[in-house]
């Protein structure tokens, strides 16, 4: 077997194992949440008989291990069950929310990743001069301000004062792409500002690190232009750390944006998860948890594989 194929298979197997471990943690975690599902659904005025009926109906009397394996079995077959609180099919409602979350993350990534890398390169080109300092100062400021604050500031200026984009980011299938983009414009700006600094700084650091190598000096002595050196010699050798930080930020854009969702009333997965946690709707929480874990593990897997492929020493082992 080709060593790369072997490596990838190994990583994949490891990823699946991790996901399995995460599923156990999620199941155990939801089991020890204080409060009881039946009580949460029926409220304070519930009679003991109604509670007993509800518990039987929900299968809460079965041992935990039995519940875990039947849950995992159904999950693997794509059956996520129905929400306890409103009886809706979880796969269906979750699917729509997941699509929205990915839509927002996609557009935020499309703008922020190239922008961050470009700014990083620019900062290296003008290292320690005013463009470098300006870029660092601005991006570090935006990452230091809480994201809801940036959201409110942008809403106030962009939406209320200038009337440019919508302050409510509720999207639905009946909207055209242009309408959807108009609705998510401000959240995308917020997310871009939040993730920019991390990726930009990492790009800058990784390339600067490479720039100290002897072969860069050689290229310089050859009379090559600075930007060309960065593009042809420094960047390819700095890909691994950059991809890692990009993937971490992509994962954040998918699983960590609940605050932005709340501020803009965006119908994504974060808000959906929080609502169901507070109502102790365990099947939904478990499904969301597992999907988030899968996204996180998957993106990190991609980062690993890309950095292996980007490294000739790993690509052509002796």
């Amino acid at each position: 077997m080709h060593p790369i194929l072997k490596l990838i298979t190994q990583r994949l197997a490891l990823g699946i194992l991790l996901l399995f471990a995460a599923s156990i943690l999620i199941f155990a975690g939801t089991s020890i949440l204080p409060g009881d599902v039946a009580q949460s659904i029926l409220g304070q005025s519930a009679t003991p008989e109604a509670l007993a009926n509800m518990r039987r109906e929900l299968g809460l009397n079965e041992p935990a291990l039995t519940r875990y394996f039947s849950w995992l079995g159904n999950f693997l077959q794509g059956d996520l069950g129905t929400a306890l609180t409103n009886g809706r099919d979880i796969a269906e409602s979750l699917g729509g929310r997941l699509k929205n979350t990915l839509f927002l993350a996609f557009w935020a990534a499309v703008i922020s990743v190239p922008l961050a890398i470009f700014l990083g390169l620019l900062a290296v080109r003008y290292k320690d001069r005013w463009p470098d300092k300006l870029i660092s100062a601005v991006t570090l400021t935006t990452i230091s301000i809480p994201e809801f604050m940036i959201g409110y500031v942008l809403i106030y200026w962009v939406s209320i004062k200038w009337g440019m984009f919508s302050s409510v980011a509720i999207i639905n299938d009946g909207m055209s792409l242009a309408e959807k983009l108009n609705a998510i414009a401000i959240p995308v700006m917020v997310l871009t500002l939040v993730v920019l600094a991390h990726m930009m700084r990492m790009t800058r650091a990784a390339i600067l690190n490479v720039m100290q190598s002897a072969y860069i000096e050689t290229a310089e002595l050859k009379g090559m232009g600075m930007l060309r050196i960065i593009r042809k010699h420094a960047f390819p050798n700095a890909i691994a750390p950059i991809v890692n930080v990009v993937m971490l930020n992509l994962a954040y854009l998918v699983v960590g944006v609940v605050v932005v969702e709340v501020v803009f009333a965006y119908p994504g997965m974060g808000q959906y998860l929080v609502d169901h946690v507070s109502k102790r709707d365990v099947p939904v929480v478990q499904a969301c948890g597992l999907i988030f874990a899968a996204v996180y593990i998957g993106l990190n897997l991609v980062a690993d594989i890309v950095s292996i492929l980007a490294n000739p020493r790993l690509r052509h082992p002796k």
Binding site: T85, G87, I160, V168, N172, V263, A265
Partner: protein, 534 residues
Amino acid sequence: MNDQLKNMTADVTKGLMTRREFVGRAAALGVTAAVANSMLASSAEAAAHAAPKRGGMMKIGSSGGESTNTQDPALTASEVPLNNLRAWGETLVEVDAGGELDFRMAESVEASADAKQWVFKIRKGVTFSNGKDMTAEDVLMTMQRHSNEDSQSGALGIMKGISSMKVDGDNFIVDLEAANADLPYLMSDYHLMIQPGGGMDDPGAAIGTGAYTLEIDEPGVRHAFKRREDYWDSENRGWADEVEQLVLNDATARTAALQSGQVHIINRVDPKVAALLDRAPNLSVESVAGRGHYVFIAHKDTAPFDNNDVMLALKYAINREEMVDKILRGFGTIGNDMPINAAYPLFDETIPQREHSIEKAKEHYAKSGHDGSPIILRVADGAFPGAVDAASLFQESAKAAGIPLEIKREPNDGYWSEVWNKQPFCASYWGGRPVQDQMYSTAYLSTADWNDTRWKRPEFDAMLNSAKAELDNAKRKEIYSQMGRMLNEEGGVILPMFNDFVSGVSENIGGWADDPNGPVMDNKSHIKCWLKDA
């Protein structure tokens, strides 16, 4: 109404005087706030009814919605699903802004002389949105569903006093175990939306007799409705062609959406920003004194709160004016340690208001012989908006009287199941009820599930029951007055303030009228208002 009042009312309607000024000046003329408000409501209604317009799409932005919501009226407990119910459904009767019955699915109601049997005459010619005629049979089945122990209905408590129900032609007849002069008011409970076949087959189908049909149902995100051409009361309600409710739980998101014109009406404006928002162009902030109140509740059967001198010390120590000023920013009124205020029918204005008095607090605290160990008050942000700050204010003023009040912060999550109604002393809130009887029966009857002050007095229960059976309003008022005084003196409830309902309304909205029964015109703004530019 004297001429001066009449002129002032006209000024408010024309926008020459604010509601607040009006209530203040009316008070100077010896008119109580409740009467002044209802006068305004009726005159505003008259002005608003000048030119209703049909058409357009009305958007409301509401807090109080989750992705776990359903359309089942039995399970409705927060504002977003309640607004949904009001759009597609109707109850037998409603309570109007003046506290009178507004007949909906019932045309009229009559009581037997002993107030034990009530006959509702059901309106004819009303159809459900599925095309079927609404009959007394549907009413009966609806009520049966909510009386069922397994129904999980929020109206179960209301239905408990009913011994039997039956249909006789077009009449729906209710027999009670004990007399209750307020029964029609109980039937205005929002859970009791009349559904075809009682909603037994599919409780969440959203089929009712309301002005709108549900078109899009995305819980926690948005709900869209279309006007029914065949709605029976289209002369008075259902003006916009379409209504869309957006779930905006974040207070800033809500005000931003109103300011940028993406919604026409929002509920629950944060008192902290209400005055600022009111200055923004193209919108107004509407506030109406309601029956909801914020409380600190102590269990009367647990030491040290079983010692009434400790209770009185705490009651005198709390600074009510300061709380209304700082916690409600003036959007509220002070309370008097009883859950009833002037917004209730049959309220006795002559009950003396308890004043803030450090001397009296000291005196009662010394008399109580309390050992000086810390009195623990449990509180969470979710108990009511500003609860933690209110508790700190309480702690400070108690300290001045030498009372060792200690605050224990609790997490919001699980507060209502682990702390409220379990711990001996905590912060909480109550939404109002349409009548005094219902408020007392829910929280101050010995046997009530939600008796969160453990107030168990046979003589109080007896008074409540005799008031129920009393059809003479003067006598009822006298009984309620005695009950109020008793709670004020001996109860476990410390009630510093009644909160106003504060809403934000776009200039483009016509027909807004204050309604003390609930927020955003008792959650009927979207069916009673219209768009001026439609």
